[in-house]
């Protein structure tokens, strides 16, 4: 376990979002649009939306998003950028993403360390999933080039999230932690640390206890590159089955424990509760956010947290 509770928030990486320390938000999904817009908007510091769900240029969706963005700080989390795609990122996709970012002026923009753009039966395809990367020199260079291009186009730094992966692509030239750290240093992007993804991977593939493996993983990440933390839960898997990162449960006890550890190491990084399937009532989701807030308060007494900033 870590020693001090004096996590440093000084000299942060350019990707860290100034002014968002201690923020906690929740993912906004379809069943909660009304709750978010018509309810009490002081209950969370920000909302995260999935970018592609709002790519439509007309109809009710842009109008709902506009209402949401008028009341909350927005984190734009995309799921389809495919930053690790060796064949590059589709121009039309980036244009739509960029237009959307211009419309809502999000506080953060993020995607995953995964690939998606490829070929299938002689046609261009978007795989529609977060497919795993090889942690190789070539893989790293592809990521760097794509992240650079996206950051130039958007005119800002983005965050890149660690993945839960279900197949082993063999030993790479890098550890995952080295790969992500190097990416952050070479492109000035930040790391979106998904603690649930770490736990899912550890349960599925690690020989040692999951928490131990995850803590060691966190120890290998430089303190200054973490720009956001994601928390989630998953459905327990049957004997001999792989756990699937389905975001269908409350944040697990194990994940809260790991969160405490992460906050001690990285400071009061802006945090998101992610819940996509079998959604609870809006209030229950907000309670999860309150719990994260409480952990930040407990772990970061040594530093002044500017409370709920907004």
């Amino acid at each position: 376990m870590p020693q001090g509770k004096s996590a440093s928030i000084n000299a942060r990486h350019p990707s860290a979002s100034p002014g968002t320390e201690g923020w906690v938000g929740v993912g906004l999904r379809h069943p909660h649009y009304r709750d978010a817009i018509e309810g009490n908007n002081n209950a969370v510091d920000f909302l995260e939306v999935h970018a592609e769900n709002f790519f439509a240029e007309g109809g009710i969706l842009p109008s709902i998003l506009e209402d949401v963005a008028n009341q909350y700080a927005i984190s734009l989390h995309s799921t389809s950028m495919g930053l690790g795609s060796a064949s590059g990122i589709n121009d039309g996709y980036l244009r739509r993403l960029s237009n959307l970012a211009d419309r809502i002026n999000p506080v953060l923009i993020s995607d995953h360390a995964s690939f998606a753009w490829s070929q299938y039966q002689g046609h261009d395809v978007h795989a529609g999933d977060l497919l795993p990367l090889e942690f190789s020199q070539t893989g790293l260079q592809v990521m760097i080039d794509n992240v650079d291009r996206v950051q130039q186009l958007l005119g800002r730094n983005i965050l890149v999230e660690n993945l839960s992966a279900y197949i082993d692509l063999g030993p790479g030239e890098f550890q995952e932690t080295e790969f992500l750290s190097e990416l952050a240093h070479r492109t000035a992007c930040g790391l979106l640390l998904d603690l649930n993804n770490l736990l899912v991977n550890a349960h599925n593939f690690s020989q040692e206890p999951a928490l131990t493996a995850c803590m060691r993983w966190l120890d290998q990440i430089p303190r200054d590159i973490v720009g956001e933390i994601h928390l989630a839960g998953y459905t327990p898997a049957g004997e001999g089955k792989l756990i699937v990162d389905d975001h269908s449960q409350a944040v697990s006890e194990e994940c809260w424990t790991l969160y405490r550890y992460a906050i001690q190491r990285f400071g009061p990084v802006i945090t998101l509760i992610e819940w996509d399937n079998d959604l609870p009532k809006w209030d229950e989701l907000l309670q999860q956010a309150q719990f994260a807030k409480q952990i930040i308060a407990e772990e970061c007494t040594a530093i002044a947290i500017p409370g709920s900033i907004r």
């Binding site: 817009i37 009710i60 969706l61 709902i64 995953h112 459905t235 269908s248």
Partner: protein, 96 residues
């Protein structure tokens, strides 16, 4: 001025006198969150949660695979057929 030009002028006069029915978006939205389509790009993996996840895979050859309806399809089809048949018989009766 030819006939078509006269029509155009009349159309212009009436159109200019017509107001657009202002879309009352603000008032309408309160009730219509439900009509917003659900997000199709969420990142929770559906492999584990879907109610159909346990079912065996369907043969992918569209030539061999048989489309089977398990909703209202059959009853709607039956009603359409019944109506068509009735109309056919009425037409026959009218002729004879």
């Amino acid at each position: 001025m030819n006939q078509k030009q006269k029509i155009a002028s009349a159309a212009l006069a009436l159109a200019l006198a017509t107001a657009v029915v202002a879309p009352t978006h603000a008032a309408g939205k309160e009730k219509c969150y439900g009509i917003a389509e659900a997000g199709q790009n969420d990142c929770g993996n559906l492999a584990g949660t879907h109610s159909c996840a346990g079912q065996s895979t369907v043969d992918n050859d569209p030539g061999e695979w048989k489309l089977v309806a398990k909703g209202t399809c059959e009853s709607v089809g039956g009603m359409l057929k019944a109506e068509a048949k009735k109309r056919y018989e009425e037409a026959k009766k009218a002729k004879s």
